[in-house]
């Protein structure tokens, strides 16, 4: 299969829902191309979270400099669900952090695009290694503590976990401490696609109700349709507003998404958690993603 990556990139600014939809489609196309080339990797979660990543990296939500990824004034993003890295790589490439052509190296020997993020490989914009579920969110809390309590900056820290990932007890230890330390600069995004490897969340190990748990843990809790840009932007705006007001409460955004969003035969099907499309499936996916 002949796979080409466009060299269009998108600057990071406030955008309309229409513009963000187009960017998210480009991210989804890149994910399918990367995975068909890699012949392994996770399709479902990344496709489902593409809208959120379009907003974060190119909708003006996070402050970052693509040419200076270590810019000290940046907001930080920690992917706690490390297996979902194809969507982060695709979003960062579309935001101009590194050449899009490099997406073709996913999961190959010596690539900067490791199967799970490896900080040692030096990909611009990757703040931490991750892949062992339930750790990233604690790292994010540590960063938010450093920013708010020690350096007293206005930096914000975002972290995304899956919903199966919520079964790791350490996630709730992180949540407890985010509220305890009054980290209104911390935004926890939960990708609530109701799928994990062995099946539906309630069948594998029930973590519901998630919203009530987050509230009880002291979070400003916002439940949104994770494919609706008005709701996505509204939730991030609310987080930023709360941070500016200094409410002393961290924010949890529970984004209801569909695993495999945008590709008919993958949508809402947990069997697509960890598989790549074959060539024929990738061709069909790319036909659908326009």
């Amino acid at each position: 299969m002949n796979v080409e990556f466009s060299d269009i990139t998108f600057e990071n600014r406030r955008r309309t829902a229409q513009e963000l939809t187009e960017i998210a489609t480009e991210i989804r196309r890149d994910i399918m191309k990367m995975l068909v080339l890699a012949k392994s990797g996770h399709s479902g979660g990344p496709l489902g979270a593409s809208d959120i990543f379009a907003a974060l990296y190119m909708g003006g939500v996070m402050r970052h400099h693509k040419d200076n990824p270590h810019w000290s004034g940046r907001d930080r993003f920690v992917l706690s669900a490390g297996h979902m890295c194809p969507v982060q790589y695709a979003a960062m490439a579309n935001a101009g952090f590194f050449p899009k052509q490099e997406l073709s190296t996913l999961r190959q020997y010596n690539t900067r695009l490791q199967g799970h993020p490896g900080r040692d490989m030096g990909l611009p914009g990757i703040e931490t290694s991750s892949g062992s579920l339930g750790q990233g969110i604690s790292i994010a809390v540590g960063m938010a503590m450093s920013d708010k309590l020690l350096d007293k900056t206005d930096h914000r820290v975002f972290s995304l976990t899956g919903d199966g990932e919520l079964q790791e007890g350490s996630v709730w230890e992180a949540a407890m401490s985010a509220a305890h330390f009054g980290l209104d600069n911390f935004c926890w995004i939960i990708d609530n696609n109701d799928c994990q490897i062995d099946g539906r969340i309630r069948e594998v190990m029930n973590v519901y109700p998630i919203d009530k748990k987050c509230e009880a843990f002291g979070f400003e809790t916002i439940v949104i349709d994770g494919h609706n840009f008005e709701e996505i932007m509204g939730a991030f705006d609310k987080f930023i507003e709360n941070n500016q007001k200094g409410t002393g409460k961290p924010t949890a955004i529970i984004a209801k998404t569909y695993m495999g969003r945008g590709v008919s035969f993958m949508e809402d099907n947990f069997k697509w958690h960890g598989n790549p499309p074959n060539e024929q499936q990738a061709e069909q996916a790319l036909e659908e993603l326009v």
Binding site: N110, D120, G131, G164
Partner: protein, 335 residues
């Protein structure tokens, strides 16, 4: 002595999964705990056959390990399996206190071990757990070499009493043991006789050691190949005999060179019969993404390194390397 020839290839995880079903049939106290990857670590076979004795715990390795301890202290024989990265080290304290200190009859299966996991990368390529687990009092730690040995080892650990851990892999590996090949916890097995150098290996590296021995034989060097699946309890006698007979050892494992099988061999020989040892394994680095076979080559885990290391160990022996004399004798030389 049995002649070992290549019979095919199959992942060791299949042996683990199939053995759980055998154990389930023999003993109704066998229960299995799932950690959301039941297909990859093959506990799904048990789940399908004995749904009432299977419990999905979700992605919560620490909880699963301690729940297993509770089940064990109530007379059950619980197996918990996940990727070795998450069910040996993430839950290290739970294993130490709740399983080992309690002498609870908990069995853990650590899958997708080693660099041969491939494209998933360093986070999933556990290379340190043998070193940790073999230091735990009461623990039994097994690293089978092929599919059939994995099956026998799993059955053996299900039928013994006490905490035990078995390491297995994702990718297909050569199959060469047979139904009649002996397996016993605490015993190493000589697969090939020789007195020139001893190659002691576990897991996927055992077959590589056999290949290295074949190449060495072409040079007239007869290597003794020892399969050592029982890291703990450790077969002191077979190792010390090899050290005395051969005077030079190579260890080989899909693990860090520090603290694993090589460490165990070094401890035992240092105490009983010191000889030069060369260590084949991952050299104090993390893994990375790539194709499994490619990674085994890049990280120096093939017969070629074992071969070169054998020559080196023999050379050190033959040159009477200073490190193996008494200080008193050395001082005489220096004057």
């Amino acid at each position: 002595m049995e002649e070992y020839t290549l019979l095919g290839s199959k992942p060791t995880r299949h042996g683990f999964g199939e053995a759980l079903v055998v154990l389930g049939e023999r003993n109704e106290n066998i229960v299995v705990l799932g950690g959301d990857i039941t297909g990859s670590v093959m506990t799904s076979l048990f789940k399908d056959k004995f749904p009432d004795r299977f419990f999905s715990i979700g992605i919560a390795e620490q909880n699963a390990t301690t729940i297993a301890a509770g089940l064990a202290l109530s007379g059950k024989v619980p197996f918990f399996a996940s990727y070795g990265a998450f069910c040996a080290l993430r839950n290290a304290d739970q294993i130490r206190i709740s399983c080992c200190y309690n002498e609870a009859n908990v069995k853990i299966g650590g899958g997708h071990a080693g660099i041969s996991v491939g494209p998933d990368g360093a986070t999933h390529q556990v290379l340190e757990e043998v070193a940790y687990l073999r230091t735990l009092p009461h623990m039994t730690m097994l690293v089978p070499c092929d599919y059939l040995e994995a099956k026998k080892a799993t059955i053996a650990m299900g039928e013994m009493v006490g905490p035990a851990y078995i390491r297995f892999g994702r990718s297909p590996v050569p199959l060469y043991t047979t139904e009649t090949t002996p397996f016993e916890i605490g015993k190493a097995l000589v697969l090939r006789e020789g007195n020139d150098v001893a190659l002691i290996a576990c897991g996927a590296l055992v077959w590589e050691a056999m290949l290295a021995a074949q190449e060495l034989a072409k040079k007239g060097i007869q290597a003794r190949v020892i399969n050592n699946p029982s890291i703990k309890p450790f077969d002191v006698e077979t190792t010390v005999t090899a050290a005395r007979d051969c005077g030079a050892i190579v260890t080989a494992e899909e693990h860090q060179v520090h603290g694993g099988l090589g460490g165990a061999v070094a401890e035992v020989t240092a105490k009983n019969s010191p000889v030069p040892i060369e260590f084949v394994g991952v050299k104090d680095s993390f893994g990375g993404s790539g194709d499994p076979d490619e990674l085994m080559i890049k990280f120096g885990l093939t017969w070629k390194e074992i071969y070169a290391s054998a020559l080196k160990a023999m050379e050190r022996r033959d040159k009477g390397s200073v490190g193996f004399r008494r200080v008193k004798d050395v001082e005489q030389y220096i004057g």
